[in-house]
Every structure is written in structure tokens, then in C-alpha cells.
């Protein structure tokens, strides 16, 4: 009883309500666009960097803040600032650059080119610090080991994986074992001497720099295009042809799961965190020549997000602070996506160091009645957590046609919504007019120009399945009622001709659908038995 009383007291029984005209709700898409996952991935605000000469073969992020981005395209490696996405430096090579990599402190950058040379740059200087020449065929990948600042791993089309001493520009060991081109590789994120390489001989080999033979071998089943370590270092992900496979290294190289939702060859993989919190999960991001980027939740073996780009994709990268998502296309486009509030965290960290300046600033901001801002103070104040918010009841937002309908100016409402060119709204207004028994009157009152507007709308949408029930009947009625006006004008005849063609086409489609149904129905019946 008491509870009921409370419910009763709370109900704000509003009798006089205005209902704006709403279009019919449509069926929701099957893949829920509003999951947290897809919200996260679609929240990257698109930026694109055009004008790079040719295919973007490799991307790399600096491991230290501000995580500048190195993009390898054609014979150049361009260094971009991750804030403004503008070029800060260019390094040029003699041949097409195939791979690029930052050292763990972000101070040096290594890149390999198709002439077989691996070059090491200081990111602040133009000239190469070292040129490592030993590969007899194009070098395809180069990688700094985790935290190790002195060595490099590289691989190339000669099938040899080389372990370099950078300072001396000498090969420490040639790791032999691959029978075909070595195209990719990655270094363990926990151990300085462990790394994996993938080759066109379908295998991925796990190496230890301290021994000259591979320690484990995994067969992907197709030429391996890319291989990455997952953050735990116990698992790796490989990409070959249109499949991405996740393998358990510690468990003896068993396949954990595979994802085959790409239609063409997967070109690149990377691992990224969803956000910065401790609980954020890791995702495997893959791009392929079919132009799709797919986000793969390898824990649940599920593709959680997929996005299409207008070019075959060659490379992908996620910045370590997960504020930037960069994808390189084969046409020289870089599709970058930037998160808006990723910077906030950074500034709050910064302000920790600049307490003094802030105190000064607040003193400066003390307002006096002589300031103009004094009179605006507090207007844009945001409520703090413990404040009790008194909510103002929001009025119903009315569009122009709603206001006209409210004033019973039916024809004007119809014309105004026709001018808006939103078919769902037009149909909703028409339904409302039907419910008010004013549709016929509206049609008969339309002036010439307005009639043209209506006719071209009908021509465009009367065969759309969602609206056809209403619009077909209306079209018939309009033609019946306004036959004289339509005959009188040349322009209307054109619309009418198009309308006729449209309807004929629809009839043909319907007929062929019926034919198909006729073919299928007996089959279904047999299957039902």
C-alpha cells in the first residue's frame, strides 16, 4: 500500500501533451552498432593524410611520448607528429622502404629497404648513423629487440635472419632455416633475445639470439605475411592469405583460434589496447587487401568490429596510448583516426608538475565588478559530483512541419516537409494527415509548383518497399484528382513518364520474384518433409 502511494505520488500525470510526428521506427541492424566495443572503435575521428607517393608499406609508433609516427612509403620514411599529424622530418633511401622500427627509447629509428640495406637514423638528424649491409636480396623486416638498444634483427628475401650489432655494424649471427623469403618478424615484448620470423615457406620460426637454431616452428599453412607477439609473449598471431591465426607458443605451438573473415590477403597485424585503464582488453587489429579493417577479440574468438576503407590496405598501427589508429593504403593514403579525449589524461599528468603556475593563474582570474566577465561568472559552471541536480523538464522539440500541423495548416506542413527531402518524415506527415482526414483536401489544394514537388517525391519513393503501401495508393489518387493540371504542363509529363517506367520496372521485379518463389516453394516443401 505504501509503495503504491509512493508510485502514485511520483507519477507526473501530464494530460496535455504534444506528440511530434515521428517516422516509423525501422528494424534495428543485426550487429548491434551500439555495443561498447563498436562505440570505442568508431569513436576515432577520421583524419586522412593524402599525397604520399605510393603504397604505405610500414608504420611504426615511437614507444615514448609523444609517440611520433614513422610512415614508410616509396623511398621515404616520414616522421609525423601524433598530435597534429603533420610531417616533422623525412628520411630518404635509395630504394623502396620495406620496414621501419623505433628503438625502445624512441631516439633511434631503423629501416630496411629493398636494396638489402638496413639503415639506422637518429630521429633528430637527417643522415644515417649506420648502414648495415649484408642482405643479398631485399631486406623485408627490421626490428629492435625489446629494450635492447644495441642489437637489431632483420630478415630478407634471401631467407636469412640476421642478428646485428648496431654499433659495430656487424652481423653477430646469421640464422638459417627458412626455405623461402622471410617477410616478417617480431620481437618478444618481455625478453630481449627472443623473436619470431615468418616466411613464405608457410612457417613461423621462433629464435633465440643466444642459440643459432630455431627453437620452435609453426606451420601457418600459407605464406606468412605478418606475425606479431601478443602482449603476454606466450602467444603469437600470424597472418597468411585471408586467415589470421593465434598460436600458443608455451603450449607447444598449438593453434588457439583462427579468424577467416577477410576476403583477400591479410597484409598486416597489430595489437592494441582498448583505452588506457588497467582493465582495458587487448585486441588484434588486422587489415587486408579487401579494404577491411577487422578487430578480433582473440579471447572470445570473435570479430567485434569491422570497417571498410576505400583502398586495399597495407599496414596498420595503434599508438601505445591508444589515441591514434593509423592504416596505410596501397594508393598512398594514410587513414588515421584520432581519439578526442585521449589527451586529457596527459594534461592532468602535466598539471601535476605545474601546480605553481596554476595557483598564479587562479589569482589572476579573481573577478572584480569592473570586469565584463564578472557578470557572466558561474554561467557555464559544471555541476560537481555531490551537487544535487534540479532537472528542468524539457519541452518537446518541434520541427517546422510539427508547428504547422499544430496550427492546422495542413497543406503548408506537407509542402514544408516535402522540401526537407527526408522521405521517412514525409511519410510520417502523410500518415498524420490521413489520420486527420485531410490528405485528399491537401492534394486538391496544392498549387502547381507544390504539385511538382509532390510528384517528384512520389516518383522517387513510391516503389520503395517501406513506403509503397501508402505512396502507391496516394499516387493513384493524385493522378486521378489532378489529371487536368498534370496534363497541362510539360514538366509534369516528364515526371509522369519516369514514374511509369519506375512502376513498370517494379512490376517486372515482382514478377521475377514470384518466379523465384515458385521455384523455391516445392523445394522447401520437400525439405520440410
Amino acid at each position: 500500500m505504501e509503495e503504491e502511494l509512493r508510485v502514485r505520488l511520483n507519477d507526473h500525470h501530464q494530460v496535455s501533451k504534444i506528440f511530434p510526428v515521428k517516422p516509423k521506427s525501422t528494424a534495428k541492424p543485426v550487429s548491434k552498432s551500439e555495443s561498447t566495443e563498436s562505440r570505442y572503435w568508431s569513436s576515432f575521428k577520421p583524419h586522412s593524410i593524402p599525397n604520399l607517393v605510393s603504397s604505405v608499406s610500414a608504420l611504426a609508433f615511437s614507444p615514448v611520448h609523444p609517440h611520433s609516427l614513422a610512415v614508410a612509403h616509396s623511398t621515404t620514411v616520414s616522421l609525423f607528429s601524433s598530435h597534429t599529424l603533420s610531417v616533422s622530418r623525412r628520411f630518404s633511401f635509395r630504394d623502396v622502404v620495406s620496414s621501419v622500427c623505433f628503438r625502445s627509447d624512441g631516439a633511434l629509428l631503423a629501416a630496411s629497404d629493398l636494396s638489402g640495406v638496413v639503415q639506422v637514423f637518429d630521429i633528430k638528424e637527417r643522415m644515417a648513423l649506420r648502414s648495415l649491409r649484408s642482405h643479398k636480396a631485399p631486406a623485408r623486416f627490421v626490428k629492435y629487440p625489446f629494450q635492447d638498444k644495441l642489437h637489431l634483427v632483420s630478415g630478407g628475401d634471401d631467407g636469412v635472419v640476421k642478428y646485428w650489432d648496431v654499433a659495430g655494424a656487424t652481423v653477430i649471427s646469421d640464422l638459417l632455416g627458412h626455405k623461402d623469403y622471410v617477410r616478417c618478424g617480431d620481437c618478444s615484448p618481455v625478453n630481449d633475445s627472443m623473436f619470431v620470423t615468418g616466411s613464405y615457406d608457410h612457417t613461423v620460426k621462433v629464435w633465440d639470439a643466444r642459440v643459432s637454431k630455431w627453437m620452435a616452428e609453426i606451420n601457418h599453412g600459407s605464406p606468412v605475411e605478418d606475425v606479431v607477439y601478443l602482449p603476454s609473449a606466450g602467444m603469437i598471431a600470424t597472418a597468411g592469405l585471408n586467415s589470421v591465426k593465434v598460436w600458443d607458443l608455451i603450449g607447444g605451438g598449438k593453434m588457439v583460434c583462427s579468424m577467416e573473415s577477410h576476403n583477400k590477403t591479410v597484409t598486416s597485424l597489430c595489437v592494441g589496447r582498448m583505452g588506457l585503464d588497467e582493465s582495458a582488453e587487448n585486441r588484434l587489429v588486422s587489415v587486408a587487401l579487401d579494404g577491411y579493417m577487422k578487430v578480433f577479440d582473440y579471447g572470445r574468438a570473435k570479430v567485434t568490429y569491422s570497417m571498410r576503407f576505400p583502398a586495399p590496405l597495407m599496414s596498420v598501427g595503434l599508438s601505445p596510448d591508444s589515441s591514434l589508429r593509423v592504416i596505410g593504403g596501397s594508393n598512398g593514403m594514410v587513414f588515421a583516426g584520432k581519439k578526442k579525449h585521449a589527451e586529457k589524461k596527459q594534461t592532468s599528468v602535466m598539471s601535476f608538475w605545474s601546480v605553481n603556475s596554476q595557483v598564479e593563474e587562479s589569482r589572476r582570474r579573481a573577478l572584480r565588478p569592473t570586469y565584463f566577465r564578472y557578470f557572466q561568472r558561474g554561467q557555464s559552471e559544471k555541476p560537481s559530483k555531490e551537487d544535487y541536480l534540479v532537472k528542468e523538464s524539457k519541452g518537446v522539440k518541434l520541427t517546422r512541419h510539427d508547428k504547422l500541423l499544430k496550427k492546422f495548416r495542413h497543406k503548408e506542413a506537407l509542402v514544408s516537409v516535402l522540401e526537407d527531402k527526408k522521405p521517412a518524415n514525409v511519410v510520417a506527415v502523410m500518415e498524420e494527415l490521413v489520420a486527420r482526414r485531410k490528405m485528399i483536401k491537401c492534394v486538391s489544394n496544392l498549387e502547381e509548383g507544390e504539385l511538382g514537388l509532390l510528384l517528384s517525391f512520389l516518383h522517387k519513393y513510391c516503389t520503395v518497399q517501406r513506403y509503397s503501401v501508402l505512396l502507391m495508393a496516394l499516387t493513384k489518387k493524385v493522378l486521378e484528382m489532378r489529371a487536368e493540371d498534370i496534363n497541362g504542363k510539360e514538366e509534369f509529363k516528364g515526371i509522369l513518364r519516369n514514374l511509369k517506367r519506375e512502376v513498370n520496372q517494379e512490376i517486372k521485379i515482382q514478377q521475377s520474384l514470384l518466379e523465384i518463389q515458385g521455384v523455391i516453394a516445392p523445394l522447401m516443401r520437400i525439405a520440410g518433409r
Binding site: V15, S16, K17, E431, V434, R437
Partner: protein
Amino acid sequence: MIRGGRSYVKSPPSFSNDAKKLLVCTGNNVSVFSAATGLQITSLEGHTAPVTTLIVVPASSAAQKILCYCWTASLDGTIRHWDFSGPELLKTVDAQVPIYSMVIPCLLSEPQQLDSSKLVAYVSVEDTSLVKEGSKELRGHIRRFNLAKERLPRGDTLKETEEPKSIVISPSGEFFGIHHKCKIHVWGVPSGGGSRNALAKKMTLHHTKVINAFAFHPTERIIAAGDVTGRVLIWRSFGNRKLALASQKKNARSMVDLDNPGVRDGDDAESCTTWHWHSAEVNVLNFSSDGAYLYSGGREGVLVVWQLDTGKKKFLPRIGSPLLYFIWSPEPTLSSVVCADNQIHLLKMPSMEISRTISGIKPPPSLPKMYEGLSSTVAFDRSSGIAALCTENYCVQLYNLLNDRGISEVQVCERNHQPGDEITVVVTAVALSLDGSVMSTTEVKLPEDGIGGLVSLKFWESEPDNKTFTLSTIVYEPHKDAGVSAIAFHPTRSMAVSTSFGGDFKIWVCNSDKSQTEKDSSWICHAVGSYKKKPMTAAAFSGDGTVLAVAAENVITLWNPVKNMLLSVLGATLTPITKLCFVGKSEFLVAASNFPKPELSVWNTSKLSLSWSYGLRIEAVTSAVDSSTFAVLALVPKTFRKSKSKKNIFRGRDGAILLFNGSDPKPVSIWTVMKAQGGSISFLEGDKSQLRLAFVNGSHEYVVFDPSSDDTHERSAIDYEGLVGEEETGDFGYTSLYGQLPDYDKKRKEDAESLATPFISSERPWETIFSGSTLNFPPLQKLCGEFFESLMEKSNSVVE
């Protein structure tokens, strides 16, 4: 037994002096509501016929504001004086004739000297001695009545009219009047109210249209009147000549020759102005307490405020129902507007916002002809005793039958209802799941000239703890363009079936178990079925939910709802089936068909055969979940009711509720009811021990009673109300009247094949049974048999 659903709006309500209570006439009682919460506090019970007038004794000083006295007048011919804080009956005055309206001028004019011996009331009564069929006698009388002397002298009649009129009194208590056709008759109250011989002076104002309502200005001599065409007329300075007091007479005479603009027929008024905004008749007129504004309202459901000096207007639009009364409270910030849909809205005053609503049960919607009898506009939540009722303004009202109180309203169709408009959108059906958590509605948008008709089916879900439904799923055109004929819910799972006249039925399931959050749940089509493309007219799930019965016109098809398999087909009835209901958890299935030949048939689903049938027109069927009893609401044919010997039994009642037990064709008990057309019944089983039957009649009055109890005691109360012509539902216990007598087992054929069960015609015709002493009546079981035989058309030939 609980009765409810009474109209709150038959006569105007009244505020108490402290404006904290609102007194509302509800049938025979006066209910006192709290203005702050809108809940009922208490009720004044004592009148034996509907209360027509309610006058709260006004407070003359601030100290008296706590006084809670009121006078009531009723059709039972008594005037009563109450202390409604108690509540306590202080005094009863018997006037002996039905009182339709009453005013007590001296309460307003001289509140200081409330000498009860001098209280004079003016009453509008119906002279019952003149009542004859079709007579043109002037039955309505306006009389003067001394409340102290408790006698209604004949001589004091002021005016005689064809019908009793309601009296309007001026707020100052100086004048009162009635409107009669195109005229307003106004009387001045003689000063010094006690003197016997001072009869009231009378004057008349004329108009060319029938006047619907009028009001007096609180301080000046101004009358505002509203007519049927929507005009509002303002007469200023009326009665200067005829009603003037002796001292003023000289001044008045000098003004006779003046030209009085707008005043007709030499009426006694200085001027008459007309305002016209309302498009339909004006029902409500009231001046504000300071006299600066005039409130008017009518069928459009818009309250208009006129500034009296300038004629400027302000509006409170979209109330959604014709207005009936507008009353002020002593508190200037509170007033109340009463609507025809049984709602009393309390207004926050200068801003005219509706702050609270006292909501009675809403009257049923008026449906277009084609939907009459096909729609099921009432659904019951059996556990909590809540009924969901379709209303005029595209809403479903949830009404607690046990507490007699509206709970909430669900806007089914997002449109504003404008009373008086052509009906273009109809909510045709509402259904509730057994646990009351899911509601389903269908609405039809009627096409204009063949354009834009639309049928949609909606599923609503409520949180378990409160009864506010939120829209879960809309299905547009669930069965192409064919209308939905019935909706039924699965007793245990979240599954529903909708049948259509287009020849198919669809099973809908809620896919909430797949998704984690409740908000994502939606209803999707699980299966479609049809039987020989016949129109599907009714559907029901069996008690355990394993069998779905769908009526395909005149055959009953049984389906497995999960696998969507046709299990079997039950033989044909003669006419299309309109209602289906499984009897509890038993194997019996009740089917009812109405047109063209009414029939109630009970089928045995395990034997797949007909058990028995009656030729009764059935309005509603319900069955208890656990036991094997079921009840039907049958309409009694008019020809049968009218015949002489049964008149005293039915007394204007047009239907009967019959309670059956399982396969037994003899009803366990019968109650006759009023306004059964469009009514519905349902068992309510809140607590396990008690099984109650709820009956909501065609005008949404209802009664909840225990069908198993021996209601001898209640019968007396019901009969009494029946005698005094109370327009309420009443039951009439045959069982209690004749007592349970030893078995008289008349063999009835339970043969499977016999569709038209041959009934044994009795030697004695039904007419003679009730003649003679009640002691000689035959036993009940025999009576029932005969009773029903006489209801049915006899078929002589037995179908092989």
C-alpha cells in the same frame, strides 16, 4: 464483494474550506479525496440513491476554516447534513420526492447567523406523482424548502418545467436561476430569509439558441450564458427593474427608456455582448472569485479564460475530453476541472498546469461499427486484480479493481485525442500475460479514401515492481493488411499468439534470454501457421501451455506452439467462433460463437469431440487457472426479457453470468447483470485460497465477488439497490434464492457426435414456472434446465 467504477462526474464536486479535501459524488456515496495526494480519505455513506448535490458550508472567518460541514441531496428524496471530518451524519431531512438539484442561498449571503431554524433551500425536484408514460405533464418543479420544518409545501413552487433542472446560484447568494430551453429564469432571494411570505422575485432573459450553462458574477450583476452553438453571452446589470430592492426602485425606474444594446425582448438588462470561440456547445461557465475572468469550456476539451473587461483569451488546450465542471477552491492557487472521461484534474492556478489527477475508471471508447463486438478492450491481470482498459484517447488505463483506483495510463498511440473528431485511429485489442508483466495492444489506422490504412501490434513490458509499461516492440502490419482478431499469451513462457482475419496466425517470442540486458529484449516472430486459408478468429493456450487452440472460422485447430505442428482439428461448429478458452488444466475447451447463430460449446480435447452446447450469445469467457470451473457472460435475448412473467426477475438486466464446473452442462450458479453488452469477466486469483470473479460491464462499472460464497446476505443489498433504480451492476443469486436442493439429475446427452444436442422439451412452458408461491418452486436444477431451454431455439431434427 467489491463494487466500483462509479462515475465521479455525475454531479459537480466541491472543495472543503481549507482546500485540502475534495468532495466528489460517487453514486450513493460522497467520497472525500485529498487534494494533495489525490487519494481517497473517507466516504459519506447513507444515501440510498445517487447523490445529486453537494454543498460545503462555507467558512465566514479564517477560524472557521477547519469546519467540515456539508449538505447533500439525493434522488432518494432526502437531504442530509454531514460532518465530513468524522465522517458523521448530523441530520436527515426527508423531502419525499427525488431531488435533482439544491441551493441554500443563506449559507452564502449571511454566513454569520447560521441559525438552522431559518435555513431555506431551493430545490429542483421531480414530482413523482405525475409520472406517466409519455405524459406531457410538467414534472420538474423548483420549490422553496425550509430545512428546519422538514416539509415541502406544495404552494411554494416557483416554476414548473418538463424535466428537473439544475439550479445555479450566484456566489453572493443573492440570486439563483435555471436555464430552460432558450431562456434563463432568475430569482432574487428575498432578504431576511426567514420570513415565510416573501416569495422570490422572478425575471427572465431570452436568447435565440438553447442555453446549456450559465453563471453569475460574484460581485456585479452580470450573467454569462453559453449556448449549444458555442456562443458565450454576457448580460450586464440584469434585473435592475424587476429584482431591485425597494430602496433602489426609484433609480431603476429612470433607466427604463434607455436603449439597451443586444438585449432581446425588452429583457431587464443593460447590455448583452456575445463572445464566440467555442465550436461546439459550452458546458462549463464560471467566473473567477474576484470576477475579473470568466472560465468557459465545452466539448472541445479546451479551457478558455476570458478577461472580462477586454475579452482577451488564454487557453488550456489538449485536455482530451469534454469538460463538465470547473470549480474554484477557497485557496486561490487551486482549482479543479472535471472531464467527461471520469477524470478530475486539479489545476495549479495562475499557470493553469494540471498538478494532479483523481482518475476514475474511464468510459469505454466508442468504436466504429465494424469493430463492435470484435475487439477485446478489457484485459485482466489476475494476480494483482488490475484491469487494463482501452480508452478513448488512444490510451490503456491500468485500473486497480480491488482498490477502485486508477494506477497509470499507457499512451498506446502517440496522438492527441480531440473529442468530437471523426475516429480514425482505433485501439482494437489489449491483452495481458498471466503474470501481468507483458501487455500487447493492437491499433488500426483507418484509411482515408483507401490511402494509408495501417495495423500495428505492440508489445509492452513492465518492470516487476511497478506497473509502468514501456514499449518493447512495434510490429507494423503483423498480418499484411488484415486486422488482428485476437491476441493470447502463453501461461508460463514469454510467448504470444496473434490471429488475423487474413487467414494466418503468428507466434511471437521474446528473445530476451539471448541478450543480457533487459532493454534489448524484443519480440520476434517465431512461427506462422494457417489452416486452409480460413480466417483465424480466436486463440487460446492450454493451462500448461503445451497446446495452442486456434479457431479457423468454424473449426478448432490444435497446435504445438513450440514446434508449430498441427496436432488435430476439432469438428465444425455451425458459426464462426469468436471466443476460445481452455478450462483450467482440464481437457475441456470452451468455444463461443455469436453470429448468425449464437452458440456456446464445450469440447473435449482428449476425445476430440463435443461435450455439450447451448444456444447462448456469449460476451465473454473466463476460466480459473487451477480448478476446473469456468464462467461465461451471456446476453439474455430481448424478447425473452420483455415477456411478462420474467420482468420482475430481470428488472432491466440484460445479461447473466453462468458459472459451470468442468464438463457438467448444468451451471453451478447464475447471476443476472446489467449492461452486459460489451462487458467482460475474469477470475482473479490473488491469494491462493480465494478465487474471485470480476465483472466489468459495458459502461465500465464493475463488481468483484466470490462466486463460491453463499451470498444471501449480499443479495439483500443488491435487491434493494435494484428496487430504487440504482444504475449499478447487480447480481441476483438464484442459488441463494431457491437453495441447494437434492440432485435432480436430468440426463443430458454427452454424445460426441450430436452437434445440436436434442433438448427435452418440458410439459410446462417456462412462463408458468414462476407463478404461484415461492415454496412450490421446482428445484433449482430443474429450473435451470427449463430456463435455458426457453433461451434456446428448439431444433427438432437431430443431425446425424
